[in-house]
Chain length 315, copies 2
């Protein structure tokens, strides 16, 4: 998988509409390493047309049902949609594929919907690096919308969902007490709030709570709308699709989308540089030079800072 | 403070017994940067004689009183003792100095006891890097014992206390339910367990709980003794001093101390390399080269991994 040939063939097939090959390509990306690197090089020039939507919120907020219904709304306009379900807690994605079919059962026979779970496969900072790469693959494959759904509101998940063009934060009536801890983080990334399970008690308080938080926030030309939904019955999903489309238009006006993507690209590039450097540090700290310098430190002929400098200068 | 001259003078004065200068030197170390680097270079060859004792445990376990009493036991043998109180939650140590005097009031007039609080001063990974450096300064100043006391059982605090020659973990009767979360981490670093406030209910259960945990652990030639104390009355503190001295003798036999310090030194050196590399990454990601490469990524003429490689190769 490290030679250019096979990767080029895979990318060509995936771009041509071969869904099985697309799935294989995403597995390569998920694994990281030289294979993923070759895919990145090949797909990068092909993308740019997709709009990404991140959907995040506490477990149990009803995100999966909401995502399924939201995808149906997008499909109603004839657009192809890809869904990436991000699950940092799962070490492998293999088992999740069947789960995807079940949970997204409504779309199982629709060729215009592609569903895929992503996990870390154990490499550090994996999802934060692999997700944008997977998005570029789906982008190159021609999907008009890429929906990134996270399972929970952990740091990586909020980061990943917040790196979308439009980020939807899903809460429930009464959420205020439940997710106190990450409120600020969620508020910061939200372009749209959804109060799902809006038929439950506490809706008015939750809306007031969100409005109050927004009143206190520094908003930059866009006040996140609050959409009320009952995903299980479909109530409010049309409103959500409309609000997301409205945010897309807002971004596309006056170069805001380009600015936002530039910012995100800088964050990603910094992250890749850090990852590369980290790999280099791992190599430096495992060789014979390291052992020799450490012995000098132990013998007190060299202080540890000087030893570190020699190790780095000699690299 | 970056020139060799003033640092050499400070180190000479501190080694000569000037406590005020010793305090100034520790402030330089705490601040990090070139000043700390110069101090490290100067003190590194001078140390090696001190035995370090880490004392950690949950807030409220009675560590300060225990430390004060333990120091009195060490002093009774005529040895000079330094105490480093590690408080990662405090952004500055300035205010802690008065606090030190109050809490260690018993030793305020004793020139053979030196007490100092350490905090991060805001730099990342600060305490994990600054503490071993501060220990080397105190070691060079000739203290026979250096006691490192942490306020809580956070990750950094456990790391710092666990990096001592002898690590004492303080619990209370009934601790089992209270600190479930970090039990494994504490068990891993403990050379000695203290059940402080041993006059309280639950002592028997707690001892049985600890013994059971030790039965299940892979012990490497040393089974951590369990000492019962009531620090406020002095009960058991003589036993603690005896057990710690026993562990010191155990380590000094058959080269175990050297092996342990070599391991610790390797961890520290890796950490310093990581810190240096991190600084380099920060510089790389803030210059005009970064901006130029990122523009190429945005224009899709270069993929982000290739951009990162160019940035690193050009560094």
């Amino acid at each position: 998988m490290t030679e250019a040939g096979p990767v080029t063939d895979l990318v060509d097939a995936a771009v041509g509409g071969d869904r099985k090959t697309l799935a294989r390509l995403l597995t390569v990306v998920e694994r990281g390493g030289p294979g993923a690197r070759a895919v990145a090089e090949r797909v990068h020039p092909l993308g740019g047309g997709a709009h990404t939507v991140g959907i995040t919120g506490s477990p149990g907020a009803g995100k999966s049902t909401l995502t399924s219904g939201f995808v149906a709304e997008l499909r109603a306009d004839g657009d192809d949609v890809a869904v990436l379900a991000i699950d940092p807690s799962s070490p492998f994605t293999g088992g999740a594929i069947l789960g995807d079919r079940v949970r997204m059962g409504d779309h199982a026979l629709d060729r215009g919907v592609f569903i895929r779970s992503m996990a870390t496969r154990g490499h550090l900072g994996g999802l934060a690096l692999a997700t944008p790469e997977a998005i570029r693959v789906l982008d190159a494959a021609g999907f008009a919308w890429i929906v990134v759904e996270t399972v929970g509101v952990g740091q990586v998940e909020v980061e990943v969902a917040g790196a979308a063009d439009t980020t939807v934060v899903v809460v429930n009536p009464g959420w205020g007490d439940a997710v106190q801890a990450n409120k600020a983080g969620l508020l910061e990334i939200a372009d749209v709030f959804v109060i799902n399970k809006a038929d439950r008690e506490g809706l008015t308080d939750t809306r007031r709570d969100l409005e109050h938080m927004l009143d206190l926030s520094a908003l930059d030309g866009w006040r996140p709308p609050i959409v009320e939904t009952v995903a299980t019955t479909g109530q409010g999903l049309g409103d959500l699709a409309g609000v997301v489309a409205g945010h897309r238009r807002h971004l596309e006006a006056e170069g805001r989308l380009a600015a936002r993507r530039a910012e995100r690209s800088a964050v990603e590039l910094r992250r890749i540089v850090a990852e590369r450097i980290d790999q280099r540090a791992g190599r430096l700290c495992a060789g014979p030079d390291f052992d020799a310098l450490q012995e000098q430190v132990m013998a007190r002929t060299l202080d540890p800072w000087a030893a570190a400098d020699r190790l780095l200068d000699g690299s």
